[in-house]
Symmetry: C2
Subunit: 320 residues, 2 copies
């Protein structure tokens, strides 16, 4: 089975979730609609809804309830993407802060705020205080992760532990919450939704590591952004941290800056690849996937386990 | 009794809330601490905590529980102020988007996100799903209000109804939520917390109208910002909407723009004052205060009613 089969099996429900996302974002002012549908229509793997749906299959799967959790988590993810882009956008129009540019950015920021608020409103249909506790804790960690990412930009002295803590906050905990809340929405026993959270955490760590690898190994066509973009913007990811263990490589990579041209950047990317850092990072991702698999084995017997296992394989092998 | 007496009566609890706010914002990274304490230390009337505390006195006042509601609501207010300032700040350093300036703004945006997430986390201690429903709905309305404010900037064709809807979303609903959640935290009966919400809504409308009047009648020293600043930034408030009913006045006021010098602005402010718009706006504020008083009369007998009445008088007469 490959991941496409999982998406095919979930197809009906994912389609309804897609419609619901569009409906939620379509319901208010024209300004809000334009800026938020822009993100929605850019698509995405909808990995969080997928994990919500699969996790809910461990309990009493009631789509009307589970749907709200899936929509809410995708909206939170979307809001965080919008906030990621706000200030960067401001500076692509560098030197010319027209009133229009200024408003666009304000609108993006408030669109993010709006989407986040809608996400919180939608999940209240669960009538479950624990869900709010999990979600609000996740959001606190997410925002700390964002701030740490800014703090750690272009910092080549940061440790690998630092990187792991950051991706935990920025990615893994939201995927963990997707799995756990999917389970809670389906009334699974406590020990099961705690295991689902653990599964999601390990899967999320691997997901982010492969994302960070793809920044070096994939192509602009597949990524929707130029290769090496993370490094160019000063986001120091696992392949870089592994590569700069070699002091000669480090002294080269430290030269990276926003104004570097694409040939210089390509040379740096090649340098990183030649150190074997990509393979080492993949091994680390695989260790997380193994841990996720162990948790999966430990979950109660259920045909969905095979689908979650397939998603883990997809995370390990994906090239987009 | 004047409002100072109310603050004196609540002094012990307000102090603890102040410490708690500082503690919440102090607990994480240095960057977060600096940017959020900046706002905290700017002070403020803490009107939302005051309303939370007073409303809770209609039920079983347990400070440990009520405190979390008060802290949460003040944090939401603070987060919205931070987001209000983010993009404007970016442009005070116009033309020179240094890396530092860029980071500061990103950090402000994420500080707002962080504070909001902490607010949500703190209020989960209530263990009450209805509280989340009220709060998330309020946050949705608040973000729509922010976007409407941007949309309506420099729009002299907007109706007064438009203005009322906007200040309802931007201010009144959060004060309504403060009163209602204060009541819920103290386990008041449903009909009581619905009345508290109504009281807070009317009080909040009057509060915002007086705020908008003060922009014209107060001084820079008292406001902490130059008089006429709202108008200069294109925020069309009630006094302006009343003044421009006169077409001659309208044609003058329509000339307002960001680059106007302070003499020109002073002349416009005088013009608005001379139309009697300030007095009319005050009358409208007083109508809301009367409605708030009616709801207050309708609440169960309680010594706190006198304190809430005093707060209404403060809202009507305040000059800061």
């Amino acid at each position: 089975m490959n991941y496409k089969t999982v998406y095919t099996i979930l197809n009906n429900d994912l389609k309804k979730i897609e419609n619901e996302l569009e409906y939620v974002l379509d319901a208010h002012s024209q300004l809000l609609k334009e800026s938020s549908l822009h993100y929605l229509q850019a698509g995405g793997k909808r990995i969080r809804p997928v994990f919500v749906l699969l996790s809910a299959k461990f309990g009493n799967y009631n789509f009307q309830i589970v749907k709200d959790v899936a929509v809410s988590l995708e909206l939170i993810h979307m809001a965080s993407l919008i906030h990621d882009d706000v200030i960067d956008d401001a500076y692509t129009r560098r030197g010319r802060p027209t009133v229009k540019a200024k408003w666009d950015n304000k609108i993006s920021m408030y669109t993010g705020d709006y989407i986040l608020a809608r996400a919180l409103e939608i999940i209240t249909s669960l009538n479950n205080v624990e869900a709010h506790k999990i979600l609000s804790k996740t959001m606190v960690e997410l925002s700390i992760g964002e701030i740490e990412q800014i703090r750690d930009k272009y910092n080549f002295e940061q440790t690998i532990t630092n990187y792991f803590r950051r991706i935990k906050r920025k990615t893994a905990l939201l995927i963990a919450a997707s799995c756990q809340l999917g389970g809670i929405a389906a009334d699974v026993p406590r020990d099961v939704h705690i295991k689902l959270a653990k599964f999601g955490y390990y899967a999320g760590m691997a997901f982010q590591i492969t994302d960070d690898i793809l920044d070096f190994t994939s192509t602009e066509a597949k990524l929707g952004k130029p290769a090496g973009e993370d490094l160019l913007q000063g986001n120091i990811t696992l392949p870089v941290l592994l590569a700069i263990k070699n002091p000669d490589v480090k002294s080269q990579i430290e030269k990276v800056n926003e104004y570097m041209d694409s040939d210089e950047l390509s040379a740096i990317i090649e340098l990183i690849k030649n150190t074997g850092a990509i393979n080492k990072a993949m091994q680390i991702s695989n260790l997380y996937l193994q841990k996720a698999n162990q948790v999966l084995n430990d979950l109660p017997p259920n045909p969905t386990k095979k689908l979650l296992g397939t998603m883990l394989k997809f995370i390990g092998k994906r090239n987009f």
